[in-house]
Symmetry: T
Subunit: 68 residues, 12 copies
C-alpha cells in the first residue's frame, strides 16, 4: 500500500535577491510541469559577481517527487 | 558502432520488507516507462521509524539505461 | 506551530543475521531510552570475519528524533 | 589551563521563514538544555514542498559546546 | 528578467578514441532532444579493458541547460 | 582568443545579519584588491554562538577571477 | 607485542540473491588464498538489470587481514 | 548473545603539546562520564595560531562505546 | 554460474604525452602479470611541472579483474 | 636542509582544444609570475556548450610550488 | 565592527621529524610574509619513503588569517 | 624512459606509542616484501581505547611503489 517510489531531479535556480529566493524559483519552475513535489536537498551554492558585488545567487537543489 | 550513450536517473524506492525490496520497487517502477535499463548504483539508504521500529526502508539508486 | 527541532544520534548495530537486522537492533536499543524516533540514515556498513566467513554485520545509522 | 574539550551534537531545525531561522530554532532549542554553546557548522540543507511551494526549510547543524 | 532556471541531466558517453570524444558523444546525443545546452561537469571517468588494452573510455557528465 | 585563465581564492566572510551578508562582506573585501571578480562557490557555512544565540554567520567562499 | 599490521584488499562480489550474499561470495573467494581475514567495509553497492529486473547485486568491500 | 549496540559521540580535544595529546584529552574527558569506551576515529584536525606559532592542536574524534 | 568475484588494484601510470597515455601505461603494465583485466576507474589526476611546463601526466586508476 | 615548504594555488585553465591543453594554459599563465612550479592536481573538469557542441574545456588544478 | 574577513591559503610543510613539525614548518614559513595568522586545518597527510623508511612527513594545511 | 608505473597498497599499522609510530610500523612491514617503496598517503586514523585510555593508534596508509 505504501511502497511509494520517488524520482529526484537536479535543478539550479538563480535570483538577484537571496539564496532562499533562488531555491523558490527552482521549485516554482519545476512545479509547472511536475506534480507531487515533495522535498528538496541543496547540493551546491554559487553565484555571479559583477562590478565587485554579488549579482546572482545560484542554488542547485535535488527535488524529489512521488511517481504515480 | 559501440559508442553507446547512457542516461542515469535517480530514483528512491521504499519497502516495508528490506533494502533489496526497496531497490526492486525502484527498478520495477522505472522499467514501466523506460526500456533498456542496464545497471544501478546505490547512493543513499534511509528509512522511517514508527513506534520504535523500522517501518520503511528507503533506498535511492541511480539507474542507468542506454539511449537509442 | 510546526517549527519542530530534531536531534540525530549515531548508533552502530550488529547482527549475525543480515544488514537489516543490524539496523533493527540499533533502532530497538535506541528506542528503549528515546521517544519519538522518526528516521534513520545508514552512514557505514562493516563487519567482522571469523574462520573465513562473515561473523557479524555492523551497520552504523544516524537516528533522528523530535525534541519536545 | 586551556586544554578545553568540546562536544558536538547534530541538530536539525526547521522553519517556514528561511534558512537562518531554521538554524536559530536549532540553536534556541539546544540552548534550553545545554550551556556554553560555542559554534555551529551547517552539514545539510533540505526542505519540504507543499502545493508546489517551499513549506519548510530544514537545516542540520553540528553545534559545539565546551564540556566543563 | 534574468532569474533563469536550469536543469542538470547525468549522461555517460563512451568512445574508443579518448576521454574528450566520450564527452562529445554524450553532449551530441543529449543535444538531439534538448535545446539550450549550456555547460557540463565531469563526475566520473571509467573504461572497459579488452585483451589487456583500453577498449572504451566512459565519461559521465552532468549537462546543464536552461528551462524556458 | 578566449582561452582565459582564472584563479580562485578562498575567503571567509562574517556577519551578524545573515548568510548572504557574510558572502557579500567576503566579496566586498576581496574586490578592494582584485579586479575582474567573476563567480563564487560556497564551501562552508559556520557561525559563532553567544549567550545561546547565533552571534555571527561565517561563510567561506571560493572566489574566481580572470587573470589578465 | 601487539603492534599488528593489516592489509586491505578491495574485492567485488556478485550474487543473484541479495547484498549479503554478494559480500559472502567476496569473502569466501578471498579466504581461499588469504588467511587471517579480520573485517570488511562496504565501499560500493551496484547491480545489473536485465529485462527490467535486478539480475545481480554487486557489492564492493575492502577486506582487512593481519600480516604475519 | 553478541548483538552489541554502540553509540558514537563527537568530541574535540585540544592541547598545546601535540595531536596525540589532544586526542588523549578528548578520551579522558569522555571517560569521566561514560563507561565502556571502545574505539575512536579522527574526523578533523585543526589548530589555533598565536604570534605566528601553533598555540593549540584541536583534534575531533568520534568515540564509540557499547550501550549496555 | 555467474556469481563472479573481482579484485581491484590501484595503479598510477605516468606519461609525457597525455592523460589517456598515462592510463594506457598503467593498464599495459598491469596486464603483464594479471589476466582478465575488465575495467578501470580514474581516481586521481596529477602531474609534474618542469621549467614552467607540464612534464608528466600521472593518472591513478583502480583496475578491476575477475578472480578465477 | 630539506624541510621545504610549498604553497598550492587553485587555477582554472580553459581551451577549445582538449583537457590537457586547458591544464597547460593554467600552468603557463601561472609560471609567468611564479617560479619553482612543481606539481599539479586536477580538482574539477567542466566545460561550456554552444550550439550543442563542446565549446571550451575548463579544468581546475591546484598548482604546488616551493617557497624559497 | 566585528564583520571580519579572513583568507585561507594552502601550504604544505615537510619535516624529517614528525607530523607536528611539518605543520610548524608550514606555519613558520607562512608567518614570515603574512601577519594575523589565526588558525589552520589539516587537509592532507603524506610522506616520502627512502630505503624502506619514512624519510619526510608532508602535511598540507589551510591557514586562515584576518584581512585588515 | 620515464613512464614509470606505480602500485598503491593499503596498509594499517598500529602502535601503542603514537600516530607516527603506527605509520612507521606499516611501512616497515611493507618493506619486508616490497622494494622501491616511494611514498605514503594517510587515509584513516583510528584507535582502540582500553580502561578509558588510548591503547593503540591505528593509522591506515596507501603506500606507493614503482613497478619494475
Amino acid at each position: 500500500m505504501s511502497d511509494h517510489v520517488y524520482k529526484k531531479v537536479e535543478i539550479t535556480g538563480s535570483s538577484a535577491i537571496d539564496m532562499e529566493d533562488a531555491v523558490k524559483n527552482a521549485v516554482a519552475k519545476c512545479s509547472q510541469s511536475i506534480n507531487n513535489l515533495d522535498w528538496f536537498e541543496v547540493t551546491e551554492t554559487r553565484g555571479h559577481i559583477k562590478d565587485g558585488k554579488v549579482a546572482h545567487w545560484q542554488v542547485t537543489v535535488k527535488i524529489g517527487f512521488r511517481l504515480d
